[in-house]
């Protein structure tokens, strides 16, 4: 007991958090000292000092946690061999609290952090959903409400990025036959830098919150409470995680594939992850610029957005959406990859139109860069700009349609099980929910209808359906599907089904309810509404549905935690998949494949007798 406490207290996580707050205090003190030299007092929570301390605090975290140690050693010319396995004399579980370079450990770290952050963001949603169940203000103030919904947005985005990181890190090296990611230290950095970023955002709530939503539009951002500075810095730091992680993923995929694995023989999930990584690598910088400019305008007094000093508030929106629209495809492309990956396994049929599905991911990524201004149809842009963005937006429907049709064609005449296991149920749920999100999109794309729906609850319903269908449901499907691979044990099927049958109907009610009240005049981001709109009953239903979704997720977490120890050992390949990761023991050994494999066939040749995807490379005797 005492030993475990000591291991936790000396873990990289705790040391990093201590380092973060020490560095924060030092940064704050430094500014206070500079002011003292000029004879100025420094009030409590003085904004430039808080901001400077926050930037230092991230470095403090990384130094404290030891994420930078190897690189610092390399700079001074010391050898830094990669460490493998648990630290000496410490149990295996301690790896997850420390800086570890194994992609599977990092993948699990991502997954657990993602779920914890998901719970925080979900809790915020439930808090303000309860407020919204009835008109009038019940138990939150406007101030608290604004901070809660703003934080809900950015925290969920952080959770999704972590979840995408989990899937990419754990699965991509396994699927392409690599022993690890290309840059293991950068990989650890990508994960660990997300922690101080989340701390900054949560601290932002503690020092007064902010009331701009996750978009942080100028000029409201220039007038918002102090919390916005920490929110923006946290968001900004998180960009490092995205950029570094995506470069790592792309290099790994480009250079470390097994022999014979041509691009069109990669498991389809790798295509989704690659398309997502291309977006992350190229778009994240612009939101970084937008956030930098906002913080600089507030803290340093530079002028970019405030028209009083010659700035332009619309500029912020362009910079912001140039990232923040494509990033929704970062969220959904890996999830859609999971759907495409799992359907052939359960239908025992090849993925219909593999190349079309693979290229449609790239198509979505490409078109995704050309549509950002559809978030600004009511901003006052010239019609000469609105029209082209309307047409480009409508084009997104085409590659998305290819995916839906290919999924349907994959299961057509397929041998789906009579009693679908939980991962398959979640895939069906994902398709239905993403379909709701998809078909409710074009109505937002045509400008005249968007003029009514913009900033209404229709949008809220539409993007929650897109996020749940494109990410949450597939992510949960992936968790159930690869749980036996990760832990070597089987989750409880009955609880998994209970989770699904609670969550799917509740989500349908929530999302369609949101769209319904939006049409009737419910605005986004309001703490209260006029009962005369006639939407109170629907709001009660939405709140009840949100509560059910919350409880169902807790059931999943209980299932996963309880099954790690007591559940029966899983078969090596319980789903009879052809994918290489299912051909080796579970949990996966430290270096993945004892014998490397080569690809000699198509990945999804179910139903073709004698077809094989991979075989172990037979060591060729050397010539001499």
């Amino acid at each position: 007991m005492f030993r475990n406490t000591r291991i936790i207290l000396t873990s990289a996580l705790v040391k990093g958090l201590v380092g973060q707050f020490v560095a924060w205090a030092l940064g704050y003190g430094f500014i206070a000292m500079l002011r003292a030299f000029r004879g100025l007092p420094t009030p409590g929570l003085y904004e430039p000092a808080v901001a400077f301390g926050a930037i230092l605090s991230v470095i403090g975290f990384l130094v404290g946690a030891g994420v930078l140690t190897d690189w610092l050693k390399l700079i001074v010319g010391k050898r830094t061999p990669l460490r493998h396995g648990a630290p000496e004399g410490k149990p295996e579980w301690s790896r997850y609290l420390n800086v570890d370079y194994n992609h599977k450990v990092i993948g699990i770290q991502y997954a657990i952090t993602s779920i914890l952050v998901l719970l925080i963001g979900g809790l915020f949603a439930i808090l303000f959903r309860i407020e919204l169940a009835q008109p009038g203000m019940q138990w939150l103030t406007n101030d608290q409400y604004n901070t809660l919904f703003s934080a809900h947005g950015i925290i969920m985005i952080a959770s999704i990025l972590l979840g995408v990181g989990a899937m990419v890190n754990y699965l991509v090296p396994l699927m392409i036959g690599a022993s690890d990611m290309a840059f293991p230290r950068l990989n650890a950095f990508s994960y660990w830098v997300a922690i101080p970023s989340a701390v900054l955002i949560l601290m932002g709530m503690a020092v007064g919150g902010w009331d701009t939503g996750w978009v942080g539009y100028a000029t409201l951002s220039l007038r918002a409470p102090l919390g916005i500075v920490l929110f923006m810095l946290g968001f900004w730091i998180n960009g490092f995680s995205s950029i570094a992680g995506s470069i790592n993923m792309l290099v790994t995929t480009a250079t470390m594939r097994a022999k014979g694995m041509t691009l069109f023989r990669m498991p389809i999930l790798v295509w989704g992850a690659a398309a997502a990584s291309i977006i992350q690598m190229t778009a994240t910088q612009t939101v970084g610029v937008a956030l930098t400019m906002s913080v600089a305008e507030r803290v340093l007094g530079l002028n970019f957005f405030d028209p009083a000093g010659g700035g332009n508030p619309i500029l912020y929106q362009h910079l912001f959406w140039f990232y923040s629209h494509p990033v929704v495809y970062v969220f959904v492309l890996p999830g859609l990859g999971v759907i495409s990956e799992l359907l052939p396994v359960f239908a025992r049929k090849p993925l219909f139109g593999y190349r079309w599905v693979a290229l449609s991911s790239m198509g979505i990524a490409l078109v995704g860069f050309l549509v950002w201004a559809h978030h600004m149809f009511t901003s006052g842009m010239a019609d000469a700009l609105r029209m082209p963005f309307m047409f480009s937006t409508m084009l997104v429907a085409i590659p998305t349609g290819v995916k839906f049709f290919s999924w349907v064609a994959t299961i057509w005449e397929g041998k789906l099980p009579k009693n679908p296991p939980t991962p398959l149920l979640f895939v069906f749920g994902a398709i239905s929910v993403f379909l709701i999100g998809g078909v409710t999109g074009p109505i937002l794309g045509t400008i005249p209808t968007d003029l009514h729906l913009h900033d209404s609850y229709w949008i809220v319903g539409h993007f929650h359906a897109t996020m749940f269908g494109g990410y949450i449901f597939p992510f949960f499907a992936a968790l159930y599907y690869w749980y036996p691979k990760v832990t070597g044990r089987m989750y409880k099927e009955s609880l998994g089904k209970l989770h699904f049958w609670l969550m799917l109907p509740a989500f349908w009610v929530m999302s369609i309810g949101q769209m319904s009240v939006g049409l009737l005049g419910m605005r986004r981001r309001v703490a209260d509404y006029d009962p005369a709109l006639g939407i109170t009953t629907t709001h009660v239903l939405i709140t009840l549905a949100a509560l059910i979704i919350g409880w169902s997720v807790l059931i999943m977490i209980y299932n996963f935690v309880a099954s790690t120890r007591t559940a029966p050992l899983a078969d090596i390949n319980p789903w009879r998949s052809r994918s290489p990761e299912w051909q080796i023991p579970s949990p996966v050994p430290e270096f993945n494949y004892a014998v490397p494999f080569e690809v000699i066939g198509e990945p999804y040749d179910y139903g073709l007798d004698g077809a094989t995807y991979t075989r172990e490379v037979v060591p060729v005797p050397s010539g001499d």
């Binding site: 025992r348 085409i398 290819v402 398709i431 078909v439 900033d455 986004r524």
Partner: protein
């Protein structure tokens, strides 16, 4: 034969489901009353989209559920499905057809947008100002009368020329369908042709800070005679010189003046700023722990330099810090028109004194 039977089943289910869903949408996707000429073409487009939503949702769901229930594995069957890799003609079909459909909807949208934004005959202009968290309206063609409620004549196109003073706001009356942001530093316009006499609510649709939820104004659509009567009534307001200081103060505090009432209530109800009721000559606890008596000096300072003495429990940086300049500009304007020596700050204090 099997294929044909599936095809017939699918088509039957698809038609049933599409029509059923479209019927269901009448209740779950109901729109508010259409009260403007712009709403008509927009609602037509809505109708087209709702049919498309019903059809596409049905198409994928029918196919998916059909595959799940009709083709699923029978007991004892251990074989795999048929080995079908794909079909190029199908892929091309479901790429090309949606392309034409979305381009068609795009053109429909473009034509509709052009119809609702193009200038119409006999337009009237109203200047709209949005600021945290209040709306005000000025009628330049009616002697610049000002109003805190938007009164519009029916069946006449009004061009709203909109400006934001501080942050972005957005003009939305759901019954009119159209929406337009108000952006600081640039003027945006919106055309509305009300077609139904009645009362509506304008609400800000873009998050604009603390009291975004409460940023609303009354909208009244009246017939031509009613509009003229309202204008006459507004124009008949006495000159500032004929008002008492208290009456002028109440006017300055209103939406037509400087909108103080958006944050400071006159009846003791809580707001973003401290209420004015019972304020004068009473003790005020400040954020730094000290207290002051709310006399003329304190109130003057609080208006001109609001961050200097923030009241406990309230946030700094919310109240604009340029009221001194705003007042000076307005005083000059009024003094040029009327022979009167004006002090807006003193008027407001006189008004506050009446709120005991």
């Amino acid at each position: 034969m099997g294929r044909l039977r599936h095809l017939i089943n699918i088509i039957l289910l698809l038609v049933l489901s599409t029509v059923g869903l479209r019927y269901l949408f009448e209740s779950i996707f109901a729109l508010p009353v259409a009260a403007s000429a712009e709403a008509r073409p927009i609602d037509n487009l809505f109708n087209g989209h709702f049919w498309m939503i019903a059809f596409l949702f049905s198409l994928i769901m029918v196919l998916m559920l059909y595959a799940i229930f009709v083709f699923r594995r029978q007991d004892g069957d251990e074989t795999d499905g048929p080995h079908i890799h794909g079909n190029r003609n199908l892929e091309i079909t479901w790429t090309i057809i949606p392309t034409f459909v979305v381009i068609g909807f795009g053109i429909w949208g473009a034509v509709t947008l052009n119809e609702i934004t193009r200038p119409k005959e006999g337009e009237m202009t109203v200047d709209v100002v949005g600021k945290q968290w209040i709306w005000s309206f000025t009628y330049p063609e009616q002697d610049n009368i000002g109003s805190g409620e938007l009164v519009l004549p029916v069946n006449r196109t009004t061009v709203l020329k909109m400006n934001a003073e501080d942050v972005i706001h957005s003009f939305w009356v759901p019954e009119f369908r159209v929406k337009q942001d108000l952006v600081p530093g640039r003027e945006t316009t919106l055309r509305i042709t009300p077609t139904e006499v009645g009362s509506y609510k304008l609400r800000c649709a873009e998050i604009c800070g603390l009291n975004h939820t409460l940023m609303e104004a009354d909208v009244r659509v009246v017939d031509a005679a009613g509009f003229q009567a309202w204008v006459d009534e507004k124009q008949a307001v006495p000159a500032f010189a004929d008002l008492t200081a208290e009456e002028r103060g109440a006017f300055w505090a209103s939406a037509e003046g400087f909108g103080c009432v958006a944050c400071h209530s006159a009846d003791g109800s809580p707001g973003v700023g401290p209420t004015w009721q019972g304020l004068y000559q009473h003790e005020v606890p400040l954020a730094d722990g000290s207290t002051v008596i709310a006399d003329d000096d304190y109130i003057t300072t609080s208006i001109h330099d609001p961050n200097s003495q923030v009241v406990g429990g309230f946030n700094p940086n919310i109240m604009p810090q340029n009221y001194l300049e705003q007042f000076a500009a307005r005083e000059q304007e009024v003094e040029a028109a009327e022979a009167i020596d004006l002090d807006i700050t003193a008027d407001i204090i006189a008004y506050i004194k009446t709120l005991q």
